[in-house]
C-alpha cells in the first residue's frame, strides 16, 4: 500500500472505528463486521489495519478495553469508547463532514465561476 494512502487511511480508520463503537462495547471482529456491512465492503479495509487502529486508539486513551466472553462463549477483547473517545468522535465527525461538504461543493460546481 503506498504511503500516502496509508496516512490518509489512518485518520479515516480511526473515525470509522470510533463510530463503530459509538453504540456500545464491541470486540474487534464485530467492529470489522459492522464497518464492512455499513460500507457494503466498498472501502476494502484489511481487518489487520482495523486492529492496529483499535490498539492505537486504546494507547491514546480514546477507547478502553477489557477481556470478556463473546456470544459464542469465547474469550474476546471488548472495546468501549471513553469520554475522551466520544469527544474525539464528535470532533472528527464534524471535521469530516465539513471536509466532505467542501469536496462535494467543488464536484457539484457549475461553470468556471470566473467573473461575475
Amino acid at each position: 500500500m503506498p504511503r500516502t494512502e496509508l496516512d490518509l487511511m489512518q485518520g479515516t480508520l480511526d473515525v470509522l472505528v470510533l463510530k463503530a463503537l459509538s453504540w456500545g462495547q464491541r470486540h474487534g471482529h464485530a467492529v470489522a463486521g459492522w464497518i464492512r456491512a455499513t460500507t457494503d465492503d466498498d472501502l476494502n479495509i484489511e481487518d489487520g489495519a482495523l486492529y492496529t487502529a483499535l490498539h492505537r486508539l486504546e494507547r491514546r486513551g480514546l477507547v478502553s478495553a477489557e477481556w470478556g466472553l463473546s456470544d459464542n462463549n469465547r474469550k474476546a477483547k471488548f472495546y468501549e469508547l471513553t469520554d475522551a473517545g466520544r469527544g474525539e468522535l464528535r470532533k472528527e465527525a464534524h471535521r469530516w463532514s465539513r471536509y466532505a461538504d467542501a469536496v462535494f461543493k467543488v464536484l457539484r460546481a457549475q461553470g468556471s465561476g470566473m467573473g461575475r
Partner: protein, 899 residues
C-alpha cells in the same frame, strides 16, 4: 520462616500476561470467528480460511505493529500509575507524620545525627585518602618514592625522606621514569619585610616539579630546570594564587617584582593557578627552586653532605608503558648503585635495600600519617553511630507499626495490595530518611567545620567546600540505604500480618516474634553502645597516661626561642655576640629561671649520628644514635637528671678537651656492665679524636611518646653554633612567651626574626590522637547510650501498656507492687545484660586493631570493660524504672474493667 514471610508479602502480586499472549489471543479469536461466519454462509472450510486471511492482511506485520503499540502503552501506563501512586504515598506519608510530629521529629533527629556524622567523616576521608593532588598529571602512573632499608634487628625501615644526593642518584640512575621531582614543604618560612613579614608555607621544588602536573601558570611562567642548578640556584619565585590575591591584589604587575623569601630577595616570575598547592595539603604562598631554598637554609651542606640530610620528599611519574613492578625494580637498582658509595655499609645491607613508587598520598602509602588512622577510626565510629541510629529508628517504626496493626489489616481487607502497602511503608521511611539526610547535612555544616579544624588542624580545609557533589551523593546514598533498612522492619511486619488474626484481636496481645525482633534490635544497640563506650574509656585512659608520661625533662615549663637571621650579615664575631646577648637578656627577664642552648627540639628536631668506639668493630647493629648539641646548664634547665658523672658546663664549651654526655640506654648498650664515664667515643667518623664521656643522663623521650629506647649523646655547643634557646619559666610559660619575644626581638639586627614557642604546645599534636579518640568516642558513645536508653524506655513502656490487663490480673491475684516492679525491671535488665555480654565480646574482638592506638593500656582492660558494663546496666535500670513504677500503680479494678 523468613522466606515464607517474604513470599507472603508478595503472594498477591499476580503476573500480568505478556503483550504477545494477549495479541495472539485476540487475533486468534478474530480469525476463528470470521472463518466460522464464512462457513456458515456456505463456503468450504479451506476457502473460508483463505478468505479470512486475505481480508486480514499480513498477520505477522499486524502482530508486530500491535505488540509495539501495546508495549508503549503499557510502559506509559506504568509510569503514570507509578507517579500517581507515589504522589498518593507521599500525601499519605505526610498526613501520617503530621499526625505524629513527635515521632517524626525523633526519627529525623536520630537519623540526622547518624547521617550528619557520616557526611562529615566522608568529607574528611575524601580529602585525605581518596582525592589525588589537584592537577596531577596521569595520577595512575604517578607515585611517591619510598626507600626500604634493613634495620639492625632484621626488620626494615621505610621512609620517604630523602637526601639531595639520593635524589640525584635516583634521578640520574633510573630509566623507567618519565619525570622525577623533589620538594620540601616549609610551613614556616618568613616572607616579606617589615610589618608585612610573616611566616607562610613555601614549597622548595626541583625544576622538574611542575612537569608532574598538568598545569599552566595563571600569570607569567613557572621556573625551569636551568634555574634549579647547584649550588644556589636562581632566586626566582612562583606565587600561590591566594597569596598573590591577598598580597598583590591579583595584580599581574607583581611578576618582575622582587620579594624577600627567607634570607634572599626572589624575583617573581609567575603565579600558580587557583587551587594549585603542589604536593601540599594546605595553601602555599610561594614555590622556589630547591637549590635556591636549600642553599638559603643549609649553605652548601644540603648538597655536599652526602646522604646525611634527609630533608626531601620525592615524587615521580613512571613511563606509562612500564608496569609498576618494572619501575620499582629499576628504582631499586638505582638506589643500590648509589648506596655503594656510602661509607661503612655492608654489601648485604645494600642488597636488601629497596626503592618503590608508592601512592602519591602519604596517607595511602606504606607509612600513613596519623591523620589517616584518625580518619579511618572516625569513619568506623561514625558508621557505628549510624547503625545505632538505624536500629533505633527501625524500632520506632516497629512500635508504630504495632499500633497500626489494625489499620493495616483493615486496609488489606479493603483490598489494598500488599505491594502497595509495602510501597507506602517504604515511602514513609524514605521521606523520613531524606529529611534526616537534610538534617544531617545541616548538622555537618555547623559541626563539621568545627570538627575539621579541631581534629585535623594541619590540613588546610579552605580549599575544600563543606559540601560538594561527592559529599551530597554520598549523603543521599546513605540516607536512601537507611530509609530502606528502617522501612523494611515494618514492611517485614506487614508481610506477616494475618488478616483475620489482626482483625479479630483487640490491640492487646503482643505478638511474640515481633517482640523478639524489637528486643534483638535493642540488644544490638546496647552492644554497639558498649563498644563505643569501651573505646571512650580506653582512649580517655590513654590520654591520661600519655599526659602523665615522664619525658625525662620538665616540658611543661619550657619555652623555646628560635632565631632566623634571614641573611642579615653579622661581623665575624657577631654570631657569638648575638647569642651571648640573647642569653643574657633572657636570663635577666623576670619569671625566667634558667636559660640554655640546644640544637634539638622535642617532638620536632633531632639528628642521628654515627658513633665509633676504639677497639670495637661497629656499633651499627645497636640501632640509631641520636645526637644533640647543647649549651651550659642544659640538663639543669630541662630538668634531666645526671645519673653519673656531671653535666655540661660553661668551661666545656670551648675547652681543649672534647667531652660528651650519654643517655643511660646508650651507656648500657655500648658499655654493658662497665662504667661509661671516662670512656672514649668518636663522634661522626672513625677518624675523629676521642670524646671523653663525662656523664650519664636519664633517658628522654624526644621524638615520640613511645620513644623510650632512644640512645642519645650530648655534645657541648659553642656560642658560634646556631641553635635554639631553651628558657625555663618560673610560672606559666604561656604568660612568658610574648614578653620574651618582644624583649629578644629588640636585639635582632635588621630583618632578623625571633619566634617563641612553648614546648608543651609542640606536644599537642603528639597527644592529639588520644585527645581525639577520647573526645570522639565519648561524644559518640554518650550519644549512642542516650539513643539506646530512649529506645529501651520506649519498648518497656509499650510492653507495660500492652500488659496492663495482665498486671491487673496478677495484682488481683495477690502480687505485690514490688513483684510488678521486679517483673518489668527484669525485662529491661535482661536486654541490657545481653547487650553488655555481646558488646564486650565485640569490643574484645575489635580491640586488637585499636591496640596500636592506645597508650599504656591494654584493649582488654578489665576495669574499663567492667565500668562500661556497670554504666550500661545502670542506665538500662533507670530507663525501665519509670515504666515499672507506672505498672506498679495499676489499679487492678480499673485494669480488669477496661476492655
Amino acid at each position: 520462616m523468613a522466606r515464607a514471610r517474604w513470599q507472603g508479602l508478595f503472594r498477591l502480586i499476580g503476573r500480568e500476561p505478556s503483550v504477545e499472549e494477549e495479541i495472539d489471543a485476540e487475533v486468534a479469536f478474530h480469525l476463528r470467528t470470521e472463518t466460522e461466519r464464512l462457513i456458515a454462509r456456505g463456503m468450504s472450510e479451506p476457502a473460508a480460511r483463505d478468505e479470512t486471511l486475505r481480508r486480514f492482511g499480513d498477520v505477522q506485520r499486524t502482530r508486530a505493529a500491535l505488540a509495539r503499540i501495546s508495549r508503549e502503552g503499557r510502559m506509559h501506563r506504568r509510569r503514570v500509575n507509578w507517579l500517581t501512586d507515589l504522589m498518593q504515598d507521599l500525601r499519605y506519608a505526610g498526613r501520617g507524620l503530621r499526625r505524629q510530629p513527635g515521632f517524626a521529629a525523633l526519627v529525623i533527629i536520630t537519623l540526622g545525627l547518624g547521617i550528619g556524622a557520616n557526611a562529615t567523616m566522608f568529607g574528611i576521608i575524601d580529602r585525605i585518602l581518596l582525592r589525588p593532588p589537584a592537577f596531577l598529571h596521569q595520577p595512575a602512573d604517578a607515585g611517591r618514592i619510598y626507600l626500604r632499608r634493613p634495620n639492625g634487628e632484621g626488620g626494615e625501615r621505610v621512609d620517604n625522606n630523602i637526601s639531595y644526593r639520593r635524589f640525584t642518584d635516583l634521578r640520574d640512575g633510573a630509566r623507567s621514569l618519565a619525570t622525577i621531582a623533589a620538594f620540601y614543604n616549609d610551613d614556616r618560612r618568613v616572607i616579606g619585610t617589615g610589618e608585612r613579614a610573616r611566616q607562610a608555607a613555601v614549597s622548595l621544588v626541583s625544576g622538574t616539579f611542575f612537569s608532574m602536573f598538568e598545569v599552566r601558570p595563571a600569570v607569567g611562567r613557572f621556573f625551569a630546570e636551568a634555574e634549579d642548578r647547584l649550588p644556589s640556584g636562581t632566586a626566582v619565585a612562583v606565587l600561590g594564587f591566594n597569596y598573590w590575591q591577598s598580597e598583590f591584589g591579583g595584580d599581574a604587575g607583581a611578576v618582575g617584582r622582587t620579594m624577600l623569601i627567607g634570607p634572599r630577595a626572589y624575583t617573581i616570575v609567575g603565579v600558580a593557578p587557583k587551587g594549585f598547592t603542589g604536593m601540599s595539603m594546605g595553601q602555599v604562598a610561594a614555590f622556589i627552586p630547591l637549590t635556591a631554598g636549600g642553599y638559603d637554609d643549609f649553605g652548601d651542606y644540603y648538597h655536599n653532605s652526602g646522604y646525611n640530610l634527609s630533608w626531601l620528599e620525592v615524587v615521580a611519574r613512571k613511563k606509562p608503558e612500564l608496569s609498576r613492578e618494572a619501575a620499582n625494580l629499576d628504582l631499586t637498582l638505582a638506589f643500590q648503585r648509589g648506596r655503594t658509595t656510602e661509607p661503612s655499609i655492608r654489601p648485604e645491607v645494600i642488597e636488601r635495600s629497596r626503592a618503590e613508587l608508592a601512592p602519591v598520598l602519604v596517607d595511602r602509602g606504606p607509612e600513613p600519617g596519623e591523620s589517616a588512622r584518625v580518619a579511618e577510626w572516625l569513619a568506623g565510629v561514625s558508621a557505628v553511630v549510624l547503625l545505632i541510629a538505624t536500629a533505633n529508628v527501625a524500632n520506632l517504626f516497629l512500635a508504630r507499626a504495632l499500633k497500626r496493626r489494625r489499620e493495616i489489616a483493615v486496609r488489606l481487607a479493603l483490598g489494598v495490595g500488599r505491594r502497595r502497602l509495602l510501597r507506602q511503608l517504604l515511602t514513609e521511611s524514605m521521606v523520613l530518611a531524606l529529611l534526616g539526610g537534610a538534617t544531617g547535612l545541616f548538622m555537618a555544616h555547623f559541626g563539621g567545620g568545627v570538627l575539621r579544624r579541631v581534629l585535623l588542624a594541619e590540613v588546610d580545609w579552605s580549599a575544600t567546600p563543606l559540601f560538594d557533589g561527592r559529599i551530597l551523593a554520598f549523603t543521599a546514598a546513605i540516607a536512601l540505604l537507611t530509609g530502606l533498612l528502617t522501612g523494611l522492619a515494618p514492611a517485614w511486619h506487614a508481610g506477616g500480618t494475618s488478616l483475620t488474626a489482626a482483625l479479630r484481636s483487640g490491640g492487646r496481645e503482643g505478638s511474640r516474634p515481633r517482640a523478639r525482633l524489637r528486643t534483638t534490635l535493642l540488644v544490638v544497640q546496647a552492644a554497639l553502645s558498649v563498644v563505643l563506650l569501651s573505646g571512650a574509656g580506653l582512649f580517655v585512659k590513654s590520654l591520661r597516661n600519655a599526659q602523665g608520661v615522664d619525658l625525662g625533662y620538665n616540658h611543661g615549663r619550657l619555652v623555646v626561642v628560635l632565631t632566623d637571621l634571614r641573611g642579615e650579615r653579622l661581623a665575624p664575631d657577631g654570631r657569638p655576640e648575638l647569642t651571648r646577648r640573647l642569653l643574657e637578656q633572657a636570663r635577666a627577664m623576670p619569671g625566667v629561671e634558667q636559660v640554655t642552648q640546644s640544637f634539638g627540639i622535642p617532638f620536632w628536631r633531632s639528628n642521628t649520628i654515627d658513633l665509633f668506639v676504639p677497639g670495637r668493630d661497629s656499633l651499627n647493629g645497636l640501632g640509631a644514635f641520636y645526637q644533640n648539641v647543647v649549651g651550659a646548664d642544659y640538663f639543669e634547665t630541662l630538668g634531666t637528671t645526671i645519673v653519673r658523672g656531671r653535666g655540661i658546663t660553661r668551661e666545656d664549651r670551648n675547652g681543649p678537651a672534647r667531652v660528651a654526655v650519654v643517655s643511660e640506654r646508650l651507656a648500657k648498650a655500648v658499655w654493658p656492665g662497665a662504667n661509661a664515664v671516662g670512656q672514649c667515643v668518636k663522634i661522626g667518623a672513625d677518624s675523629m679524636p676521642c670524646s671523653e664521656v663525662i656523664g650519664v643522663a636519664r633517658d628522654v623521650r624526644w621524638g615520640s611518646l613511645g620513644d623510650d629506647d632512644r640512645m642519645q649523646i650530648y655534645e657541648p655547643m659553642s656560642l658560634q653554633d646556631s641553635g635554639v634557646l631553651f628558657v625555663r619559666a618560673a610560672g606559666d610559660p604561656a604568660l612568658l612567651a610574648e614578653p620574651l619575644r618582644r624583649e629578644l626581638q629588640r636585639l635582632m639586627p635588621g630583618a632578623a626574626f625571633v619566634n617563641v614557642r612553648q614546648v608543651a604546645v609542640a606536644l599537642d599534636p603528639v597527644l592529639r590522637p588520644w585527645r581525639l579518640g577520647a573526645t570522639m568516642f565519648t561524644l559518640f558513645g554518650t550519644l549512642a547510650l542516650l539513643v539506646a536508653a530512649v529506645g529501651l524506655y520506649g519498648v518497656i513502656a509499650y510492653s507495660v501498656a500492652q500488659r496492663t490487663h495482665e498486671v491487673g490480673v496478677r495484682m488481683a491475684l495477690g502480687a505485690r507492687r514490688a513483684d510488678v516492679v521486679r517483673l518489668v525491671l527484669g525485662e529491661g535488665i535482661r536486654v541490657a545484660v545481653a547487650g553488655v555480654v555481646l558488646g564486650t565480646l565485640a569490643a574484645i574482638a575489635v580491640g586488637r586493631f585499636a591496640a596500636s592506638m592506645l597508650f599504656g593500656i591494654s584493649p582488654y582492660d578489665v576495669t574499663t570493660l567492667a565500668q562500661v558494663g556497670i554504666v550500661l546496666l545502670a542506665v538500662a535500670g533507670v530507663a525501665s524504672l519509670v515504666p515499672a513504677w507506672r505498672a506498679a500503680r495499676v489499679d487492678p479494678n480499673a485494669a480488669l474493667r477496661a476492655d
